[in-house]
């Protein structure tokens, strides 16, 4: 028990009064490795290049393939262009094929993401803030439930949810997709951790002393401090809702309410049925259009969510 205490006190004793040269030397040596002269590792460079290639090649394939016609797709090499450049034609066909149902799917997806991911983020912020900043009986139980819920994949709950929603008469309506999307245990957990770090209790007390009610304290004091965390959670829930496949697959039967994932899959599946038309060019183009909004969201919000993820990692 005693020895660690001794070393700690020794260190803390030497640090402030240590030799003047020791601190700068430490700094320069750190710099030499990190910023001025990064240590190069051939192995690491090769590995990261491989990972980069692995993640970019499908994207490049998708972008190139979207410029090909159905025939061009099968006669040309996957990573290079075909003679016919059909991108504009493909895009217009994607939006007009089957009475323009693609636009409807796009709007549906936006609706599900808007209501589902937006609502999930809102609930996660409220819940995370409350759990981080208010002391009440049962907090530990809530913690256990949330951690447990993070571990259950949404896919496993889809069928029980279907039976429940079916009894409530909600299947085959947008609500069947929106309501389950409102729950994001991981988002709640993230907000909880973030709120603990980002909102100083002293600041809240100061606001209370100045006469602000709880609602006002939350919206005017806490919410701006939580912004990076909110963006992070929003991105996570957005991606989850945008890409959600199994839940709508189980819940929705009416193609008019399909999100893009289901719609594109049904276009893809029609190549495998008697008399069905193979429209791989439209599936590919539709997939490209589908991921563009997500890419845009990540690029636009990236600086917020990076700072959000790093919150609490450095002691200030």
């Amino acid at each position: 028990m005693t020895s660690p205490v001794v070393t700690v006190s020794e260190r803390s004793a030497t640090a402030p009064s240590g030799t003047p040269g020791s601190v700068p030397r430490l700094r320069t040596s750190r710099r030499r490795h990190s910023t001025d002269k990064p240590r190069r590792s051939v192995l690491l460079t090769v590995l990261t290049s491989l990972v980069l290639l692995y993640s970019l090649v499908p994207l490049i394939w998708l972008a190139i393939s979207a410029t090909k016609t159905q025939e061009g797709l099968s006669r040309s090499f996957g990573l290079w262009f075909d003679g016919d450049f059909a991108l504009w034609d493909n895009i217009s066909q994607t939006f007009t094929y089957d009475d323009g149902v693609f636009a409807r799917w796009l709007l549906n997806t936006l609706l599900y993401v808007g209501l589902g991911a937006g609502g999930a983020t809102f609930l996660a912020v409220l819940g995370g803030y409350a759990l981080a900043k208010f002391d009440f009986p049962g907090r530990r139980a809530v913690f256990a439930v949330v951690i447990g819920a993070v571990a259950v994949p949404g896919t496993a709950l889809a069928v029980p949810t279907f039976l429940m929603f079916s009894n409530m008469g909600l299947t085959n309506t947008p609500w069947a997709v929106v309501i389950p999307s409102l729950i994001s245990p991981f988002g709640l957990y993230l907000m909880w951790v973030f709120a603990t770090e980002a909102v100083p209790t002293e600041l809240m007390e100061a606001a209370r002393i100045d006469g602000a009610g709880e609602v006002r304290t939350f919206f005017q004091v806490a919410l701006p401090l939580l912004a990076p965390g909110i963006v992070t959670v929003l991105l996570f829930t957005m991606v989850a809702t945008w890409n959600n496949y199994f839940l709508p697959l189980v819940m929705l039967k009416d193609p008019d309410w399909y999100p893009l994932t289901l719609g594109l899959n049904s276009w893809n599946a029609q190549a495998a049925t008697a008399g069905g038309e193979a429209v791989f060019n439209l599936v590919v183009t539709g997939s490209l259009i589908t991921i563009l909004p997500l890419i845009a969201a990540f690029l636009l919000l990236q600086r917020y969510w990076q700072s959000g993820l790093a919150a609490g990692s450095v002691k200030e």
Partner: protein, 447 residues
């Protein structure tokens, strides 16, 4: 028609298993008989009164049929919904039936899946609607399919898939290979072709339950015997041996393209000549014409190769019917639509849009038989298809849980395509797994 996505199938297995657990899947608990009596006058009255019909189907030509029907009967609205393709739709239908909510008035069901719904009385027996007198209208294979091994008539046949051999004439001509008329010649052609061009294969097969059962059907094997809830599964007959002997050689000598059917790779192979033949249903021309446009003019149709020289045996591959789920509403009106689409004016509409009929009058009509297919270089391919349809044996039956059985095909028989397991061993383990599942579901299963 069969589709392969194992990820998806596993998901479906899960859904069905859970749905089964929740409501015992099989059980219809209405207790009453599903035999209803609806007269011609009732049907007329329903047509005049009108209403909305929900139809779950993925068959593309039904769109026009529905529009025509609405025009003819102004009070009727047909809500045509593509609730998924093949097994996806069966899962959806099973879920809706389990939940007793959202069940469509009419559902498209393939012949191989018919037994599952018919036996458990989830479909309305159309005998009470006078469907039995339509039996002479349909070719024997599909009609046998809608009877699902029982006494009832559980649907009206929509299309059929009498098998034929589609082959790439350009490839055959290039290497001077004779179009095979027997499966022995087919094996030789496979060897010659692959030797002439190591990139070319006689056909692509990575294990396909629909194809294998059709081949067994043609070879004279009758692995499934169904009598009510008594089921016998046996893959050891002579017919099965015929099939496995030949197909094992194709596998062992690596003469089958390792490409899964219906993928983009597969369409590509059909287009560039590396997949030279397809033994499949007569509905294939529409798929070739839309999916492999570049190869127009290269392909031709020949009668399905025989197991004995000079034979004329054929089988069905794919094909589906329109059924009335027991929990659907508006039965008289629903029957009127099904009859219109599958036995009435709708048939011609669907033929004009490229569907393949199940009605003998259309199969035998000169207009149908003389249709020249520009895609097949002007060949009158329907003659071959019609002959095949007439040669389909009508004593084949599928399992009452064939959808499940097919979903485990790749885990059992599929091993023969990728490992040292033989086809015979694969079929044996498929048999065992099917027997086990059947027993668990309450069937009396004999091996």
């Amino acid at each position: 028609m069969p589709k392969h996505s194992r990820r998806l199938l596993r998901g479906i297995g899960l859904v069905c298993a859970l749905a089964l657990g929740a409501t015992a899947c099989g059980g219809s608990d209405d207790g009453g008989s599903s035999q209803k009596s609806v007269s011609e006058a009732d049907i007329q009255a329903a047509l005049e009164e009108g209403g909305t019909l929900t139809v779950w189907a993925w068959e593309p030509t039904l769109k026009q049929v529905a529009a025509d029907f609405e025009k003819k009967h102004p009070g009727v609205k047909v809500d045509l919904v593509n609730a998924g393709t093949n097994a996806d739709q069966y899962t959806a239908l099973q879920n809706a039936i389990s939940a007793k909510k959202g069940v469509p008035d009419i559902a498209q069901i393939e012949y191989y899946a018919m037994g599952q719904y018919a036996l458990t009385e989830q479909l309305t027996d159309l005998k009470g609607f006078g469907a039995e007198k339509l039996s002479a209208k349909f070719s024997p294979g599909p009609w046998n399919g809608v009877k699902a091994g029982g006494d009832g008539v559980y649907a009206l046949p929509m299309d059929s898939g009498p098998m034929a051999l589609f082959y790439n004439k350009k490839v055959f001509d290039k290497y001077d290979i004779k179009v095979p008329t027997t499966w022995a010649e087919y094996l030789d052609a496979a060897r010659d072709l692959h030797e002439a061009d190591p990139k070319a294969y006689i056909t692509a097969d990575t294990g396909d339950a629909g194809f294998a059962t059709s081949m067994l059907w043609q070879a004279g094997s009758r692995p499934y015997t169904v009598d009510g809830t008594k089921v016998r599964i046996d893959f050891s007959d002579q017919g099965a041996k015929r099939f496995t002997d030949t197909w094992q050689k194709l596998i062992d000598e690596k003469l089958l393209a390792p490409v899964t059917s219906w993928t983009d790779d597969w369409y590509k192979g059909l287009g560039d000549g590396t997949i030279a033949t397809l033994a499949t249903g007569a509905w294939m021309p529409a798929n070739l014409a839309s999916g492999v446009k570049d190869a127009a003019g290269d392909w031709r149709v020949a009668p399905l190769p025989q197991w004995t020289a000079g034979g004329g045996a054929s089988a069905e591959n794919g094909g589906s019917a329109l059924a009335l789920p027991e929990l659907g509403k508006n039965e008289a009106l629903a029957y009127a639509f099904v009859e219109y689409a599958n036995a009435g004016e709708g048939v011609q509409t669907r033929l004009d849009n490229g569907a393949f009929p199940a009605t003998t009058a259309d199969l035998q009509s000169t207009k149908f038989q003389d249709t020249a297919f520009p895609y097949f270089g002007g060949q009158k391919a329907n003659k071959i298809f019609a002959e095949s349809a007439a040669n389909v044996a009508d004593d084949w039956s599928y399992l009452p849980y064939q959808v499940y059985a097919n979903s485990i095909f790749n885990d059992t028989v599929g091993k023969a395509y990728v490992s040292d397991t033989t086809l015979t061993e694969g079929l044996k383990s498929w048999q065992e797994a099917s027997v086990k599942y059947g027993a668990e579901q309450g069937f009396t299963v004999e091996k």
